[in-house]
């Protein structure tokens, strides 16, 4: 019993100290440059920064709204619904780069001849009317569509393209994947797989990004050039979100990301920098 008290005293000591900690949470897409920036700032300026990726973009927004973090990471805009959920919060969007959502397939689909898809075909797949790659010109193989978890920025961009907004999307039943990591892993290891993934994560070796076939017949690939000029329709901005204008340690972090070195990190992880956008 006495040792319990001793232990409590030991824990009480650190409670007296108190430096400001920067807490960041949100999208796994935005996480890549942010996590590395945090490492750099931690090492160079001894700042206390904590980064997590619970719940993706939606988690970033909700935790920012709940006051659990100072910076939220999101790969989508803060919607009117989100603003309505947190009426007291003034969401401030700071764009740090741009990314695109690619429709990725596994190797066997790509080598089977399917290299592009039209919007209507994707809609038909999503709504279950097309279930075999044959219909798209590939070899006969069941389409294994992995849908992104609700709340993921990637998913919202995808349904926005198909339906105009998330609300109009029909309810569907597909296996779910969470962050970019799990998506890539599962698509790579399943035959006939298809999913949504941040374009920079499609490496062209284990998973392959489909081009989008427009009505006119031209195919737009998710290359940097096409994303920068907004020719590729599935692009989305990468945001850091704060409550009101960033202050203190949050401001230091935001300034770093928007600066030369921070933007280099954005580019390093395959996204487009602000100055690459036209």
């Amino acid at each position: 019993m006495r040792s319990s008290i001793w232990l409590l005293a030991l824990f009480a000591a650190p409670l007296l100290a108190g430096a400001e900690t920067l807490r960041i949470n949100g999208s796994t897409t935005v996480n890549l440059p942010v996590a590395e920036a945090a490492e750099i700032l931690r090492a160079e300026q001894k700042l206390d920064i904590q980064v997590d990726t619970q719940g993706g973009s939606a988690g970033g927004i909700s935790m920012l709204g709940d006051g659990l973090v100072q910076i939220g990471m999101a790969s989508k805009h803060v919607s009117d619904d989100d603003r309505a959920k947190y009426p007291a919060v003034r969401f401030y969007e700071i764009q740090i780069g741009e990314d695109a959502v690619a429709l990725i397939v596994s190797r066997d689909v790509w080598e089977g001849g399917v290299k592009a898809v039209t919007r209507q075909q994707m809609k038909d797949i999503y709504e279950g009317r097309i279930t075999n790659w044959e219909a798209l010109g590939g070899k006969s193989q069941r389409i294994a569509f992995f849908n992104k978890e609700p709340g993921r920025g990637t998913w919202e961009v995808f349904v926005h393209w198909l339906y105009g907004n998330a609300k109009a999307a029909p309810q569907v039943n597909f296996p779910e994947v969470g962050g970019n990591e799990e998506t890539r892993n599962k698509v790579a290891s399943t035959r006939g797989a298809l999913s949504q993934l941040s374009a920079s994560w499609a490496d062209g070796q284990k998973v392959f990004a489909l081009g989008l076939k427009l009505d006119a017949g031209t195919v737009i690939e998710p290359t940097n050039a096409n994303i920068a000029t907004r020719k590729y329709p599935l692009s989305r901005p990468l945001f850091l979100l704060t409550r009101g204008e960033p202050e203190g340690i949050a401001k230091i972090f935001v300034d770093f990301i928007l600066g030369e070195r921070g933007q280099e990190l954005v580019r390093k992880h395959g996204y487009l920098r602000l100055k690459d956008l036209k």
Binding site: A58, G65, R142, E149, P175, E176, E182
Partner: protein, 289 residues
């Protein structure tokens, strides 16, 4: 003073348990109001449309646990028979220790093994049934079978050892061979304890979250049609625990009905596992109370 302290601490602990029950019941209120019994029997979970039917998840949890039990029980009980009846006394302690150690392997490690080894194996093995991927209810079931195996062996061993040695001696004295003594004397007498062991192991399987999270596929609304079809086993599914551990729990907080639905799943899980634990305890209760 000591007595007061003991009472205080006990009430604190049991109070926490009661608080948990209370919070779950109270916070899930809105969804019971909105859906009524349809919450349990409804086969559709579409949270955006505020449609909450937990049946597919109950089905997923139950089916996966049954698969695990089906696979692990025969092997586990056979192994328990071996350790209880055939092992020489000196070897018992080391073997039992080994198995108990193995029962302690954390579930996240199983999850790792599952995602890296098991799902590909299931995908290849069952390829002719054309599963969507390696993430199926069957994969989860097999993984859980391996997880609960040491538990069944240990508890089964305890149950068999609880049968007095005098019974075995009497059987041998009557001329029964060892196998016959096991089959006709020991096993029948250990029935309750073995049943309890299986119930407790099933309870553990039902409550597993992280091990199965990565391999079950997390697809909602996967119900068999017709009801006796085994097809869902080869499809991705959702369990009560994997829904709780998933993304919805993080985004549901601000929506009262959605949050109520999530907490309701916790309540269902609590009821199921609590009942199994209670049955298991009652079933195997020894007489030295």
């Amino acid at each position: 003073m000591t007595r007061a302290l003991s009472w205080f601490l006990s009430l604190l602990a049991l109070g926490a348990l009661g608080l948990m029950l209370g919070i779950f019941t109270w916070q899930s209120g809105p969804v019971w109001q909105a859906e009524g019994i349809g919450y349990l029997t409804g086969g559709r979970w579409f949270f955006r449309q505020h449609q909450f039917g937990a049946l597919p998840m109950i089905y997923g949890s139950v089916v996966v646990s049954l698969v695990a039990l089906f696979l692990a029980a025969p092997i586990g009980l056979g192994a328990a028979v071996f350790t209880a009846e055939y092992l020489p006394p000196r070897a018992r302690m080391p073997v039992k220790t080994l198995i108990e150690l193995l029962a302690g392997i954390p579930s996240v490690v199983y999850g790792l093994l599952g995602i890296l080894l098991l799902r590909d194996w299931v995908y290849e093995r069952f390829a002719r049934f054309d599963p969507l991927s390696g993430d199926t209810l069957l994969t989860a079931g097999v993984l859980l079978a391996v997880m609960i195996l040491p538990t069944i062996v240990t508890l089964g061993d305890d149950a068999l050892r609880a049968v007095p040695a005098a019974q075995r001696r009497a059987a041998r004295a009557l001329g029964l061979l060892r196998a016959e003594s096991i089959l006709h004397v020991v096993l029948p007498q250990a029935r309750r304890g073995l049943g309890a062991a299986l119930l407790l192991a099933t309870g553990r399987a039902l409550g597993e979250t992280v091990a199965v999270f990565l391999v079950v596929g997390r697809q909602d609304n996967n119900l068999p049609s017709p009801w006796y079809s085994l097809r869902p086993l080869l499809e991705s599914g959702q369990m009560l625990t994997t829904k709780l551990g998933g993304a919805e729990t993080h985004i549901a907080w601000s929506d009262p009905v959605h949050w109520a639905a999530i907490v309701g799943l916790g309540l269902i899980l609590l009821a199921l596992t609590g009942a199994l634990a209670l049955f298991g305890a009652a079933f195997g209760r020894r007489s030295d109370a």
